[in-house]
Amino acid sequence: MTAVDLETPRLGYADVPRLADGEKLTRKDFTSDMEARWCPGCGDYAILSTVQGMLPDLGLKRENVVFVSGIGCSSRFPYYVETYGMHSIHGRAPAIATGIATTRSDLSVWVVTGDGDALSIGGNHLIHALRRNVNLKILLFNNRIYGLTKGQYSPTSEQGKITKSSPMGSVDHPFNPVSLALGADATFVARSTDTDRAHLSSILKAAADHRGTAFVEIYQNCLIFNDGAFVAVKDREQQQERAVWLTDGQPVAVGPEGNRRVLVRDAAGHVAYVPEAEADPTRVVVHDEHAEDPGQAFAISRLDDAEMSTVPLGIFRNVSRPTYDDGVRAQIATATGRLGHEAGSDDLRKVLLGNDTWTVG
């Protein structure tokens, strides 16, 4: 059978042509000649630079990489990367990217989106891409504000936020993007920040390796309309107190040495942090990103409260499930395989004739 084996986990770019041995691209090769036009100091610059620095490590032919975006500040991203790219319309990038990835297994397809683009106008496409597990890498730049339209609250803005469109405070309850992705049965879910180059780069590499939809939420600072939104977790000192660095096989813990608290699960299944010294070792939650059941990953995602008193960062979930695009191509391969040759005029003629013909003359 020519159909691909859906059981073996393969790299996200397994079918993408690779550079010849010894050939290596650089950050510069992934830098287009278009001058980036984000506001000075925007977190998007840092993310762009990290992405351009990470791409050569994949060893892929540049012409087989595609970036697709929607609308918003983050969605200008494809213009600045020297690959194939499409700056599309608001919210629709996951659908467009699905069409690209499904018809072409030889492409590494990346979606760049924002909190408004992915979670508001494009929410439907996002959850369906995630449940289908299309072989896409979705980078959600979350700045918790509408930047391009000059500062309205977004679906991730905290309740009560004062903006131009919410002078008395937003009454909207926000989404937690990681919880949403896990709820949509995403197979790879991670979170990082714009300025932590080393961490973001490792997460992006893991996302690229993952076969299926990899969802990466990137906390991104909007200097103009929501400056300091993530200072609680990006500021070095505060980070020590609040960041929960998720590491596969390690206890889920927060706080500096000597003042560490670990996550424990009580008999009723509830999770809470307790000082490390007081924790019952049998009840400590050990992170397992490969767990089939997303329940624990979801529980961890809920630890991220409005005050950002603790913020999990890293890979929440990384499991293998057959991808949509592989499945679609496998069915076509099965059908054409039954034919035994590449479809031609005779095969089409057979279809056109159907089962019930008659002849005149």
Binding site: Y79, S88, I96, T98, G99, T102, N124, E342, S345
Partner: protein, 650 residues
């Protein structure tokens, strides 16, 4: 039904080997219109389909029109729940499914009541009296049974207990419940009609074997019901004669019967094959377009990719992504779906990527009449986008023409790098007619040449790729797909500079690009056939101009008017944007131009605006195609002749 009669005691046609003999007298007629009507659960669509198939096999020309409710099972026995299937077959070229049936098969009182207005006096009505109970009669407001109270005395009524005769015929099937047996009554009716019109039942028997092969009892019961219906016709005194309709003269070749939706799916598969690129469909189910998705989903062996999306917007989004990636991209929908896709069509126009959008028009606005036909999306297809966003608009004229126009839509989309909207409608989509199956190698060669090389130099003199450098002839830009070395480029919905494709907010560039995009579409007029006028007299002052699915009724009405001595010219538009180059010249040649449309005058509006000519707009939005009689009356009055009340034959 007139013409000479003949008596036969043997096989009545050349196809006798496939027919059992009838010992009754056989009358030859040139055309028949039959309507099968019943509850939506009575299997009338299937019955009609089977009768059509047998009729096609005999070599009659034919056209069909299913008419069914939007609800899957509307309340039983009510008028909204009536489902019908009309078939017009003849020994000559058939243009429409026919106006007035010669025969109505009414499986219950609702079916009778819903269709009675269409039945001319003297026509034949077969009713299933088992269903004419007090309760069922009351449901549709009959105080007395119309079969018994004399109100039908001007019609030939055959009052037959079809259900109980079926149950009786199946008495030996102990394993089946009464309900199972009753369900076979449509096969009994089909058997009877097959006898009445000397149709073979071989094909239907083979069909039943295939459908019920896994369930021998049901299979045998249906076969028995079918044969019992045939035998009943043969033995009962209720039917004195049966009828034959001789084969029509048709071009030699191999034929099949095809619906517009199937022809659309096949045309897209064929067009894509001729380009050498794979076909990719992104689609969200919607009535009456879903059958295109169904058919294409079954053509994976031809390399066809189908993606059932989460919504209409994703459907076209997936298709657009596939287009960017180098596939022949298609999305299929109906009116409300076209509205949802409009932003993405605008993007495709801005990106200048090939994309085919099929809109199977239905009654609107909003949800409107999902299962009924209309032509009211023309202006939406023309203008339903933000900004100046022209694209190609095409409309097939018949179910079979859906194939050719699908191929044409792929030709224009790929040659000119543009979205193409193909406007079919519910009438074409579900209607069917015989199709001379084309030889694939006779279809146009649509080979696509993707860009492979750098095509320009930048200011510094370096060789570069310009994604918006145009072919001087077609004004199309190159199609460079991911995976092509050196041609990496970015495109988007923001206005781009001519040639380089770089983002540009320059006022003059935007004006230039807006005009270029329009000129590209307008220029296609040079690449499509001229508008042909058919005027046998050469002296007509009146022109009737149709578009899309009005072709059949308009042509049939013109035939009727000419038979009555009227002089009328006829032309038909299949290309709506751009119009054929000579359209204005044709319109100005006639003192009176009549445009019948199933909308409120949308084509008339376009023609008046573009060509500054007066148009006599004749419109109807009843969810049904025009009747021949209605249009013949309109045209007849315009040319001063009276047409026969009944549809003329040839």
């Amino acid at each position: 039904m007139s013409d000479g009669s003949l008596t036969s005691h043997g096989p009545s046609t050349d196809h006798g080997s496939r027919l059992r003999m009838t010992s009754k007298s056989v009358q030859q007629v040139d055309r028949v219109v039959i309507r099968f009507a019943g509850d939506s659960g009575d299997g009338m669509q299937l019955t009609g389909d089977r009768f059509t198939s047998e009729t096609a096999a005999i070599g009659n020309d034919l056209a069909t029109l299913p008419n069914y409710p939007a609800e899957i099972r509307a309340p039983q026995g009510t008028i909204p729940g009536v489902s019908s299937f009309q078939l017009h077959f003849a020994d000559h070229h058939v243009l429409t499914p026919g106006d007035a049936p010669d025969v109505l098969v009414a499986m219950n009182p609702a079916a009778l009541k819903a269709n009675m207005a269409d039945m001319p006096r003297g026509s034949t009505i077969i009713v299933n009296t088992d269903e004419f109970t007090k309760r069922n009669l009351a449901k549709v407001g009959y105080a007395e049974s119309p079969v018994a109270d004399g109100s039908l005395e001007s019609w030939h009524v055959h009052a037959l207990p079809l259900t109980s005769m079926t149950v009786q015929a199946l008495a030996e099937f102990d394993a089946l419940t009464k309900k199972d047996k009753e369900r076979a009554k449509n096969m009994f009716a089909l058997g009877l009609l097959s006898w009445l019109y000397n149709r073979s039942t071989t094909g239907t028997e083979a069909f039943l074997h295939k459908k019920f092969g896994a369930n021998p009892d049901i299979l045998q019961a249906n076969l028995k019901a079918l044969r019992s219906g045939w035998n009943y016709g043969e033995t009962t005194e209720d039917f004195a004669v049966s009828y034959v309709v001789n084969p029509a003269e048709m071009s030699p070749g191999t034929y099949r019967n095809v619906t517009g939706n199937a022809a659309t799916a096949y045309g897209m598969a064929a067009g894509a094959l001729r380009t050498g690129r794979p076909l990719a469909l992104g689609s969200y189910p919607i009535t009456p377009a879903s059958d295109i998705l169904h058919v294409l989903s079954g053509l994976k062996q031809l390399g066809v990719t189908t993606m059932q999306a989460e919504d209409e917007i994703a459907g076209i989004g997936m298709a657009l992504g596939a287009a960017f990636a180098g596939a022949i991209a298609l999305t299929t929908t109906s009116g409300p779906g076209l509205a949802l896709k409009s932003e993405t069509i605008g993007l495709a126009i801005s990106l200048e990527l090939p994309l085919v959008i099929v809109d199977v028009q239905r009654g609107g606005p909003s949800t409107g009449l999902p299962t009924k036909t209309e032509q009211a999306d023309l202006l939406q297809a023309m203008f339903g986008r933000n900004g100046e966003a022209p694209c190609v608009v095409l409309a097939p004229q018949s179910p079979v023409d859906c194939f050719d126009m699908s191929v044409e839509s792929i030709r224009l989309a790929t040659k000119y790098m543009t979205p193409v909207i193909l406007l079919t409608d519910g009438y074409l989509a579900n209607g069917s007619e015989p199709w001379l199956v084309p030889q694939v190698d006779d279809l146009p060669d649509l080979t696509v040449h993707l860009a492979t090389k750098l095509n320009g130099t930048d200011a510094a003199g370096n060789k570069v790729f310009h994604p918006f450098l145009r072919d001087p002839e077609t004004l199309a830009r190159p199609w460079a797909v991911p995976g092509t070395p050196e041609l990496e480029h970015r495109i988007g919905g923001i206005e781009k500079a001519d040639v380089t494709g770089a983002i540009s907010y320059d006022p003059d560039n935007h004006d230039h690009m807006t005009r270029l995009r329009a000129a590209k579409i307008d220029g296609i007029a040079k690449d499509i056939p001229a508008l042909e006028v058919e005027d046998p007299s050469g002296e007509a002052d009146v022109l009737v101009l149709g578009w899309g699915s009005t072709y059949g009724p308009v042509a049939a009405a013109v035939r009727a008017v000419r038979n009555g001595g009227g002089k009328v010219a006829r032309a038909h538009l299949r290309h709506l944007n751009p119009f054929p180059a000579n359209t204005g010249e044709v319109l100005k040649r006639y003192s009176h131009v009549i445009v019948p449309e199933m909308n409120s005058g949308q084509l008339a509006l376009l023609l008046r605006a573009k060509y500054l000519v007066d148009i006599d707009s004749y419109t109807s939005v009843r969810g049904l195609p025009f009747s021949t009689v209605e249009l013949a009356d309109v045209l007849g009055r315009a040319v001063g002749v009276t047409t026969a009340e009944k549809e003329t034959t040839r």
